[in-house]
């Protein structure tokens, strides 16, 4: 009998989907594997490839076995195909097929829609690894370096997960799409990644933390809604990915929190209580709070664009088809069909932002974005607690959803972070205060000096409160290979 909880190692690719008995897919994956390894090896600087990194790997997909920690060289990480256990008699949770048995094979009428969703999701995974490839060189500690690499190898595994679905369920097109995932590349002129935010640079560690907090959180919301898919293999794949994604949220939230912590501690020590006393604060080797706010503004608004148009027929179709649900679909108390419901979306009437009722089906993106905004606000509140505890008068804020948008009704309009439309001149002047300038970038870059001694941290970031896997403070999370 097939064992679908535990990871089997009887093929080159660890999996819990019985690959050894599925020769065709196994062959396709084994053919894809060398290209993946090449992609990885070309990407990450060589001395990090050779280093021993304290990573977690899954030995089974049930709670007891999925987080095993050990030193491993990244290229030897056991990337594998892991699906959450199948739920018996699972039903399609939304749309016109609501209540019918979940599909175990691709429903022909939705084949293209499904494939496109999987390809888009798959494209983001290697994209972020590409964006973050050089960060190891400026890691503020071995602890942070380990967290970066954990995020990277797991994004790599998420690519595997999507590639498995493509190769298992989409035949020749699926194989071609899987190959293309290794051809496109973040920031490339000829073949960029599919979504804008994944072609932006991640130039420094604060950007990385903001990216994992805000942009990976979009990823989490997308995975949450794909985990509700009526196509059961996709749902099971995404459910397991979400467990890993939680670590990425953790890296982002604590990374920004620890940056803030270092700033307020340094300010208190130096007796500075004005958060806008920028030069003095920067001289302490920490990042001033207004600059952190600017970074927040940038990454939050870029991430909002990832949700697409507020009103979207594509999203309506995917929901109605039962291909993609809403956040926590199973816990929502309605008919899960939305045929007669409405939902409030933000819209523009001249210069005025108004709320408008639209058919709920077409507002699926907006609803997910609202859930995202609520989810993202929580961490900002906890960051503010750090500032408040230090007795400093400053509050981090999520800017209004109209600010700095490139997609949706507010795209390319001159809104300030409070959601007020301003003149072009006011906007140009304000941008200096609202978004990171090149000068801010230079300053942050000047702090990005690596700290490779166990238990030591760069001046601009506080040590974590708890070690990974409960390890002590001076634990050597990465044994650097010194060539």
């Amino acid at each position: 009998m097939l064992d679908l909880i535990n990871v089997s190692y009887d093929t080159q690719i660890p999996n819990n989907v019985g690959l050894s008995q599925d020769k065709k897919v196994l062959k396709a994956l084994e053919k894809w594997h060398p290209g993946y390894i090449n992609w990885w090896n070309d990407l990450i600087p060589q001395n990090f490839q050779e280093s021993m990194v304290y990573l977690r790997t899954a030995v089974s997909v049930d709670p007891k076995g999925w987080a095993k920690f050990d030193y491993v060289k990244m290229p030897e990480y056991r990337w594998g195909v892991l699906l959450a256990p199948q739920v018996e008699d699972r039903r399609i949770p939304c749309g016109e097929h609501f209540g019918e048995p979940a599909w175990q094979e691709v429903p022909g009428e939705y084949r293209n829609m499904l494939k496109r969703l999987i390809v888009i999701q798959g494209d983001t995974e290697p994209g972020s690894v590409e964006q973050q490839r050089f960060l190891g060189l400026t890691a503020p500690s071995l602890y942070d370096m380990r967290n970066l690499f954990q995020v990277n190898v797991e994004e790599g595994r998420h690519l595997w997960a999507m590639v498995y679905l493509l190769q298992k369920y989409f035949g020749r097109d699926g194989r071609e799409e899987a190959n293309d995932l290794l051809v496109r590349s973040s920031g490339s002129e000829e073949a960029p990644r599919m979504l804008g935010a994944f072609n932006e640079e991640t130039p420094d560690w604060l950007s990385f933390f903001m990216f994992t907090y805000f942009t990976d959180r979009d990823g989490k919301m997308q995975l949450e809604s794909l985990a509700q898919s009526g196509f059961d293999p996709l749902s099971r794949t995404c459910r397991f990915m979400l467990t890993e994604e939680a670590h990425h949220m953790f890296v982002g939230e604590t990374g920004v929190g620890r940056t803030i912590q270092a700033t307020v501690e340094a300010m208190n020590k130096a007796g500075i209580d004005d958060p806008y006393d920028t030069d003095k604060i920067r001289n302490l080797g920490v990042i001033d709070l207004p600059t952190i706010q600017k970074k927040l503004n940038l990454h939050y608004t870029l991430s909002l664009d990832l949700f697409g148009q507020e009103v979207s027929t594509n999203a309506a179709n995917a929901f109605n088809a039962g291909i993609k649900g809403r956040y926590m679909e199973m816990r929502i108390d309605d008919d899960h069909k939305l045929t007669n419901d409405t939902y409030k979306v933000l819209d523009l009437e001249g210069d005025m932002i108004v709320e408008r009722e639209v058919p709920a089906l077409t507002a699926i993106n907006m609803r997910l974005r609202d859930d995202y905004v609520r989810d993202a606000a929580g961490g900002v509140g906890r960051w503010n607690k750090i500032i408040e505890k230090a007795g400093i008068q400053f509050e981090m804020k999520l800017p209004h959803q109209s600010f700095n948008r490139k997609i949706g009704v507010f795209a390319n309009k001159n809104f300030d972070p409070d959601g007020k439309m301003v003149s072009g001149a006011e906007y140009d002047k304000g941008l200096q205060e609202w978004l990171p300038t090149h000068a801010d970038g230079d300053f942050i870059q000047s702090l990005m000096k690596p700290v490779y001694e166990p238990g030591k941290y760069a001046s601009w970031i506080a040590p974590p409160k708890v070690g990974i896997d409960n390890k002590p403070g001076d634990f050597e999370y990465v044994k650097l290979h010194m060539a």
Partner: protein
């Protein structure tokens, strides 16, 4: 009668509200509002499913309260900005050890085996995190015997065997130094199934053969031993029920710079075989960081004597002590420790030095006396050094 109650809580200052624990909990004991994620003390059954899935470590928090009725309520937990301090609890005679009886029995066996360390054993800081209790009596792993080889000379009255077990497609993530339980078939005189016996694994984590999902055991046949005779008589192809893995402290540091002194007699060599093979596979170029002090009556009764001789001396220094070898003075492991006193003293004081002792209970006394002497002649107090080393995860005893 009331008994102190150990309550599971989440640290609101560390938690990032990802709700992964809530999604994972099979009892629906975890819930959240806009402020906190909380654990319902009336529902939580300590299954621990939520512990590994938490990315932050905030989930692994516990407070002992006077009794179950005094547990912090959900309402109280929702209000928290930080965890309350552990309050002083007047302990009554109640016992909190009422979980799985078998796991307790095995924990007790291991505690007994580790007692020689003089306090609660700790794993080396850089050791890999062990998986424990993955298989139990109700759900044992089924292993197939791949081989059963006699390690001691045919004319020795000591029958020690090397048994290789294949786990097939079942995951059995065992680290060097961990043990497995074997359940001998049949019943005892009261008609109950036999309890598992513990055996140290003698192969490294990636298998007796690298990349194969197998492991090896080193078992000595005991007169009238129900389990040892069962194991020593196994034939290739036979099926064995395994429980475990067990043991979370007698482990190998992952740090390649760690210096190890491994002191053993007889089948006490099993975990050290695993340690050595792991090092050979993982860090073959590291020199002069392993020392094995191995005692037996005669060379032909020393398990793995042949293969051991092939390990290069600069990879592992081997010190043999033979107590019945004709034409030689009797030597015990403690004598050899005294001969190597400088090295032992250096290891005691080196933060990367580890001392391991494994074998029969009877060896403990002599070894401890030698270590004590060596400490004293270096101006140290053995019990202090021992306690400090143990707290650091650098002193390990497993005797039976």
């Amino acid at each position: 009668m009331t008994a102190p109650f150990k309550q599971h809580l989440i640290d609101p200052e560390i938690c990032i509200r990802c709700y992964t624990c809530e999604m994972t909990c099979p009892e629906q004991a975890i819930e959240h509002d806009d402020n906190n994620v909380v654990v319902d003390p009336t529902k939580c059954n300590f299954c621990m499913d939520c512990i590994p899935v938490c990315p932050t470590g905030s989930i692994d928090e516990w407070r002992v309260v006077a009794d179950k009725d005094s547990a912090y309520t959900l309402e109280q937990q929702y209000e928290w900005m930080e965890l309350p301090e552990q309050e002083e609890i007047a302990v009554s005679n109640g016992s909190d050890a009422d979980t799985d009886g078998l796991e307790d029995a095995i924990a007790a066996l291991l505690a007994e085996a580790h007692a020689g360390a003089g306090g609660k054993a700790k794993a080396p800081a850089s050791a890999s995190k062990p998986t424990v209790n993955m298989y139990n009596l109700a759900k044992p792993a089924k292993a197939t015997v791949q081989g059963n080889y006699r390690l001691t000379a045919e004319d020795s009255d000591n029958d020690v065997r090397h048994i290789v077990l294949d786990l097939g497609a079942q995951p059995f993530p065992a680290l060097e130094g961990q043990s497995v339980g074997i359940i001998p078939p049949g019943e005892d005189e009261n008609g109950n199934a036999h309890l598992p016996r513990l055996y140290s694994i003698s192969s490294p984590r990636d298998g007796e053969r690298p990349g194969y999902n197998n492991l090896s055991l080193t078992v000595k046949r005991e007169e009238n031993g129900i389990c040892s005779n069962y194991v020593c008589d196994l034939k290739p192809g036979d099926t064995v029920n395994l429980t475990g893995p067990f043991g979370a402290t007698f482990l190998l540091p992952s740090d390649p710079d760690a210096h190890l002194m491994m002191i053993c007699t007889g089948t006490g060599s099993a975990p050290f075989r695993g340690f050595t093979m792991r090092r050979q596979r993982e860090a073959p170029s590291v020199k002069d960081s392993l020392t094995l002090v191995f005692g037996a009556r005669r060379p032909k009764e020393l398990p793995y004597f042949g293969p051991l001789k092939k390990v290069p001396d600069d990879f592992m220094q081997k010190v043999f002590a033979f107590s019945r070898e004709e034409g030689e003075t009797k030597a015990y492991v403690q004598d050899k420790l005294r001969e190597n006193a400088d090295k032992v003293a250096k290891l005691m004081q080196d933060p990367k030095g580890h001392i391991y002792i494994c074998g029969l209970k009877a060896m403990e006394h002599g070894v401890e006396a030698a270590l004590s002497d060596i400490a004293r002649s270096n101006g140290l107090t053995w019990t202090e050094i021992r306690d400090a080393m143990r707290e650091d995860g650098r002193y390990h005893v497993e005797t039976y």
